[in-house]
């Protein structure tokens, strides 16, 4: 138990440090994190809205909301993982002087972004959902895909931060991977316009169930598909398990390379 307690204390102070470093002196604080998806939503809607609205009940607003939800999820994933990527190496000074569980470094990055997600994005999602669907019971489902998302980001961040210890050219590759994932997520285009053959491949995108189920909960005219929510959680748990296993397996070699 004291070990759990210590881990929690360490995670709290490191998360706090990351959050404060990011929002020092800005009065909007965490709400800055909404600026990026909002701006991009405006741009995408201006450019694609006119053509694509027919896939979204003929409504520009629906298109915009769908884009906003997808963007928020995607930006969370891309930013948190790319920030966690160098975390083990960046904190090598600390790790070489004080005995700390190395997993704290990527984890505290993800938890800082999760705090941001919980107090910045989640309330906005909730408000949109209630106004859009007039079915407040949907809010009960809302946290689950987000938990799946956080777990997925954590698992991936364990993998990429491990990889960075061994290969310092990973950031370039990761940039490419996230860009591919962005194009391969039906965020700013309707899945219907993709040829069915290619669409099968898109289903392998681990972000797909998260984005799709959030979209159904928040904007959908159709009822949310619980199996998609389950798939999102499942993806997160699997990613976390794989990531943690790889991280733990190679952790002993870290100290010789950082």
């Amino acid at each position: 138990m004291p070990r759990m307690r210590r881990f929690w204390d360490l995670l709290t102070v490191l998360t706090d440090r990351t959050l404060k470093a990011r929002y020092r002196g800005s009065f909007l604080g965490v709400y800055w994190s909404l600026l990026n998806p909002v701006t991009m939503t405006v741009v995408y809607t201006a450019i694609f809205g006119f053509q694509f609205r027919k896939y979204y009940d003929g409504s520009m607003l629906h298109y915009a909301l769908v884009v906003f939800v997808g963007l928020s999820v995607f930006i969370f994933f891309a930013q948190s993982t790319s920030q966690a990527l160098p975390s083990v190496v960046v904190n090598s000074g600390l790790a070489n002087k004080i005995r700390l569980p190395a997993v704290l470094f990527p984890l505290s990055t993800i938890s800082a972004y999760s705090v941001q997600l919980a107090i910045g994005t989640l309330p906005v999602f909730a408000v949109i959902s209630v106004f859009e669907t007039h079915q407040p019971w949907r809010l009960l489902l809302l946290p689950f895909p987000l938990i799946g998302l956080v777990l997925l980001a954590a698992g991936v961040s364990f993998l990429v931060s491990t990889a960075y210890v061994f290969f310092r050219d990973i950031p370039h590759i990761w940039e490419l991977v996230t860009f591919l994932a962005w194009v391969a997520s039906p965020v700013f285009y309707p899945a219907e316009i993709v040829s069915p053959k290619i669409l099968h491949i898109l289903y392998f995108n681990p972000l797909f169930p998260t984005i799709e189920s959030l979209r159904q909960i928040i904007v959908g005219t159709q009822l949310p598909d619980v199996s998609l929510v389950g798939a999102s959680l499942f993806n997160g748990i699997v990613a976390c398990a794989i990531g943690y296993a790889v991280f733990g397996g190679l952790r002993r070699q870290f100290m010789d390379l950082i």
Binding site: K97, D256, L257
Partner: protein, 259 residues
């Protein structure tokens, strides 16, 4: 029961210089079947050591002989490749003060951050903040970022946090003397107080006189092995003799070459 017990500890470390941190190059090497196991170097070689409770152990030796590595193994930062490490009680590492500071966070938040990193709880650190600021004589800097402190002030703060604890085992990499003359006296008194307690101290130092006077025992590290162990005066003498002999040898050889 000893405070620290190392049993046949050996440690191989990868040599970083020879590691290619380049994925492309590694992949090509794999394709061309040129992949080799990474080279490793032995930095500790069968070290066995027992430190009793309350003992003050000085660790001496040339640079690169494994002195700091031993401390890291005892702290648990490095895990031995072979052998066992057992420690009893809370370990307080005092290695390079201020390593855990975040320059942009205010002083009081840094106190909590650093204290938690060193193994204490958040609540405890919040309660102690005032006391630590007083000792470091930085009360008026409570909410300024650490960045604005001079290096002397930062060292004072680090010292105040790190020593404000009751560790069972205190680990010092080089003896601490920080700040100006008056603070130096104060910090010396605090170290002496810790010394008088039944704290087990392990200290790496190049100040042989200090090791001889203040430590009860010493080990002399040489090439990752314990070359000599015993009462501090005995080990320091042996070490000094060897250093002098090898210096004299070098002088002789130089003379011979010149002649």
């Amino acid at each position: 029961m000893s405070a620290v017990h190392l049993d046949g500890v050996s440690l191989w470390r990868r040599t970083q210089e020879e590691h290619t941190f380049d994925l492309k190059r590694r992949l090509f090497a794999l394709i061309q079947m040129k992949y080799q196991r990474p080279p490793r170097r032995r930095v500790l070689d069968g070290v066995s050591l027992r430190v009793e409770r309350g003992e003050k152990l000085g660790i001496i030796g040339a640079n690169g002989s494994g002195k700091s590595t031993i401390l890291k193994v005892i702290c648990g930062i490095l895990e031995p490749t072979v052998g066992r490490v057992e420690t009893r009680g809370a370990i307080a590492p005092l290695i390079e003060l201020g390593a855990g500071f975040d320059p942009d966070l205010p002083v009081d938040e840094n106190i909590v951050l650093y204290g938690v990193l060193l193994g204490r709880s958040r609540q405890e650190m919040r309660a102690k903040t005032g006391e630590i600021l007083r000792f470091a004589e930085l009360e008026e800097y409570r909410s300024s970022p650490v960045r604005v402190l001079s290096s002397g002030m930062a060292a004072r703060l680090g010292f105040a946090i790190a020593t404000d604890t009751n560790p069972d085992i205190l680990i010092l990499d080089e003896v601490l003397a920080v700040g100006d003359e008056s603070f130096r006296n104060k910090s010396r008194r605090r170290i002496e107080a810790l010394w008088r307690d039944h704290v087990t101290v392990l200290v790496v130092s190049h100040e042989l006189q200090f090791v001889r006077d203040s430590c009860t025992s010493a080990i002399w590290m040489d090439g990752g092995r314990i070359r000599s162990a015993g009462p501090s005066a005995y080990v320091v003498d042996q070490y000094q003799q060897s250093v002098e002999t090898s210096a004299a040898d070098r002088l002789e050889r130089a003379k011979a070459r010149l002649a």
